[in-house]
């Protein structure tokens, strides 16, 4: 938000969110590290370093799996949107857990030799041309570097600096990182594990991520925003009776951009569907206190000029619109962000609504 940057933004809900996730992760690590050795009771126990590495590695996998399920879940059922709200904090937490895993591995499997342990990580196993026995560590290195890249660019400054589309593209590397993580586990511990409980949990988690993404994308293809047909630089959005007061209809413009047409107390205004913060879908938000509120992180805009209320300075483009019979039409060319556009009254709007 456009007040002075602070290192980390917290509010009550974020504290709650971070608290729940932290409790989950701490419990995971606690039972793995301190309860499971009792249950295993091997005569010669697994080396503590390996046990620790596995605890943090498994935690990072479960955390990343949960993180990647949040996105599609929120698209399938909007009640999951609160989980999206503070996902970045959980991502940073995952990065720390993953670094700890890598630390234990490097200080154990790659230490104690005359070579630099980080170099050893790259040259100890060089079977790059075969599948079995492939140096699966490099998959982990890739995932870890990606997580690091995302964590260190997670501050809102980066979003504004790089622009939301570039930032989002950078952060969509998380999908590659997850595939790489699946490979890291598949060609690593999965090759050796004799007890298949872990195999089942691991494959189940990976398939959850895969299935949810495919299902959410399929839903979006079926029920998602529809393109409008262009005629002389204008497209039809919907009928005048289609938009509920306080909400919007979204149309995909010929160039691929989306426009959100809002009904605020019987008057229509059109703004870009992409929030200035993370390009969240403004048209899926609602008007609260006369301000369009983004469903992702609650950024707000005046619907007539696309400007955030002071002291914030975010702006989104606006669109000209007109009525043609009972159809609402929008000009496909956007106005520069913050341009005021006179709202168009709905013909059948009750006078008191307009007054309100």
């Amino acid at each position: 938000m456009s007040v002075k940057y602070t290192p980390v933004q917290w509010n009550r809900n974020k504290w709650l969110y971070d608290g729940v996730m932290l409790i989950g992760v701490v419990l995971f690590l606690y039972v793995f590290l301190f309860v499971s050795p009792e249950i295993l009771s091997h005569e010669f126990p697994i080396n503590p370093q390996v046990h620790n590495a596995r605890a943090f590695g498994a935690a990072a996998f479960v955390m990343l799996t949960v993180i990647l399920c949040i996105g599609p879940l929120a698209r399938i059922d909007r009640r999951f949107l609160p989980l999206l709200y503070n996902r970045r904090h959980f991502g940073v937490m995952t990065t720390f857990v993953a670094i700890t895993h890598a630390g234990f591995i490097i200080d154990w499997y790659f230490a104690f030799s005359s070579s630099n342990k980080f170099e050893a990580l790259l040259f100890a196993n060089t079977s790059y041309t075969q599948l079995a026995g492939f140096p699966f560590e490099v998959f982990g290195v890739f995932s870890l570097l990606t997580l690091l890249l995302l964590a260190v660019t997670s501050h809102d400054f980066w979003m504004k600096f790089l622009t939301p589309p570039v930032w989002k593209r950078l952060h969509s590397f998380i999908y590659l990182a997850y595939i790489s993580l699946v490979a890291h586990v598949s060609f690593g511990i999965l090759q050796d594990q004799q007890n298949h409980t872990v195999t089942v949990i691991f494959i189940g988690g990976a398939l959850c991520v895969a299935g949810l993404h495919a299902y959410a994308a399929w839903l979006d293809l079926r029920k998602g925003d529809k393109p409008g047909t262009e005629k002389d630089g204008w497209i039809e959005v919907c009928k005048t009776s289609d938009i509920e007061n306080g909400f919007a209809k979204i149309r995909v413009l010929p160039g691929g951009d989306r426009v959100a047409v809002f009904n605020q107390d019987g008057k229509l205004s059109a703004i870009s569907n992409a929030c200035a913060h993370q390009n969240g879908p403004l048209g899926e938000g609602k008007i609260i206190d006369c301000l369009v509120t983004c469903p992702w992180h609650g950024f707000q805009y005046n619907v007539t000029n696309g400007r955030s209320p002071a002291p914030f300075t975010e702006m989104v483009p606006t669109y000209n619109l007109r009525l043609s019979g009972d159809s609402i039409e929008v000009q496909t060319q956007a106005n520069p962000p913050g341009t005021y556009v006179e709202p168009v009254p709905l013909p059948d709007a009750k006078p008191q609504e307009v007054m309100a």
């Binding site: 009550r12 974020k14 295993l40 010669f44 046990h51 690593g188 992180h297």
Partner: protein
């Protein structure tokens, strides 16, 4: 249902009443998921096997004759309560390193060695202390030892490094451990072959090149994989040495 009746979450506002129950449920669910996952994944790890450093035995000092296979082994001539004369020990140094350079000058000669035992069933390796303390020439008669050829064998199993297999690391074999094993072998820790079933009473043996040289480079790509191979087997005291034929190495299907 009007869209207005659906709960709308805004991060910096209090949570809408309709969402509170759902979010509480999700929170409990997430915490339980983590708890259960940690417990189940943690407590279903495989047993790493019966092997390890025996620091509890204390430092062992014995005397014997150094043989190079080319990896140095010690044919014990003068033992102690734990390590009897006639025993054969593989030798390694602390960390991921062998003792080739220290042992080579003493080939065929009598030495006193001192270090920590690594035990996997029987005691088969000694991790030598540093410098003279760990390995030094000894005075006395130097007996001749036999090497008994056992013919050409076809075996199935896995190539590992002798130190981790003997318990320096638990688990100390398999593909997840491959890079560590390779690093050990690069640094001259004796390589071993774990056989599917015991051969001549032993389920693992030192493995070398066919000409009695070091483990061939090509074998490094197969560390930790289940393979079959042929080679000349020989007995040196109570350990076996397999001189592998690289031409015959095959990965086992499935």
């Amino acid at each position: 249902m009007s869209q207005n009746d659906k709960p709308f979450f805004v991060g910096y506002f209090p949570i809408p009443g309709q969402l509170k129950g759902f979010l509480a449920l999700i929170s409990v669910g997430v915490v339980l998921l983590f708890l259960l996952a940690g417990l189940v994944i943690g407590s279903t790890q495989d047993d790493p096997g019966q092997s390890g450093f025996r620091f509890d035995y204390g430092r062992q000092t014995v005397t014997g004759v150094v043989e190079l296979t080319p990896y140095p082994i010690l044919r014990v001539t003068e033992g102690n309560d734990l390590i009897k004369p006639g025993k054969t020990l593989m030798l390694a140094a602390a960390g991921k390193s062998g003792v080739d350079a220290r042992a080579a000058p003493h080939e065929g000669g009598l030495v006193q060695v001192s270090g920590i035992v690594l035990q996997r069933g029987t005691i088969d390796m000694l991790q030598l202390a540093g410098g003279q303390r760990g390995l030094s020439a000894a005075e006395g008669d130097t007996p001749e030892f036999d090497t008994e050829p056992l013919g050409r064998w076809k075996l199935a199993g896995e190539i590992c490094d002798g130190k981790c297999l003997n318990g320096a690391m638990r688990p100390g074999r398999g593909l997840a451990h491959k890079a560590c094993a390779a690093l050990c072998l690069i640094n001259e820790v004796p390589p071993v072959f774990v056989s599917s079933q015991p051969v001549e009473g032993s389920d693992f043996m030192l493995i070398t090149g066919l000409d009695g040289g070091r483990l061939p480079d090509m074998a490094y790509d197969f560390i930790g994989q289940f393979i079959t191979l042929e080679g000349e087997l020989e007995r040196r005291g109570d350990i076996l040495v397999l001189r592998m034929d690289p031409e015959t190495l095959e990965v086992i299907d499935g």
